[in-house]
Point group: C2
Chain length 67, copies 2
DNA sequence: GACGAATGTAAAGCAACCTTATCATTATGT
DNA sequence: ACATAATGATAAGGTTGCTTTACATTCGTC
């Protein structure tokens, strides 16, 4: 899965720590997800979508999907 | 997380095995997710959404959300 | 009531997610 | 240049997601 976290975060001028705080997870988790080392759990994906005010599908893309 | 799997499956007259086959997971996984024993991974949630032709948010609901 | 299909559950094992702690590297600002 | 903030990575450890195998229960129908 690819994701647009880095861009969305930049649009809001949030550091990884800022985002981590809003999500209630560690900065390392944000970094790992952002760098594609692993995918968030579904509950965390929901929280991420909520924090950015976007549907999950607007943030996470399956490999190969550009949109 | 609550989910509407049982209803969506019933609308299509699919057994848990039918759905499992379409998803490429075991019947026990479908059962466990349907019964709320655990949440699917994000990639599996995407596949589920795809199979039902619905957005993830139309299938999975955070606890306490009725919609 | 008997049969098969569908469902519910559990155990054991492996992989993935997430944590804290730590260190190295790369920006940013003065 | 220096100091600090931000990012990228790793390791060890706990928890969760998913597997196979297996068995018990419920459902539909004959």
């Amino acid at each position: 899965m690819n994701n647009r976290l880095k861009v969305l975060r930049a649009e809001r001028s949030w550091s990884q720590q800022d985002l981590a705080d809003r999500l209630g997870v560690s900065r390392q988790s944000v970094n790992a997800i952002e760098k594609g080392r692993y995918d968030p759990s579904l509950p965390l994906a929901f929280t991420i979508a909520e924090v950015f005010g976007l549907p999950i599908e607007a943030i996470f893309l399956r490999d190969g999907e550009t949109r």
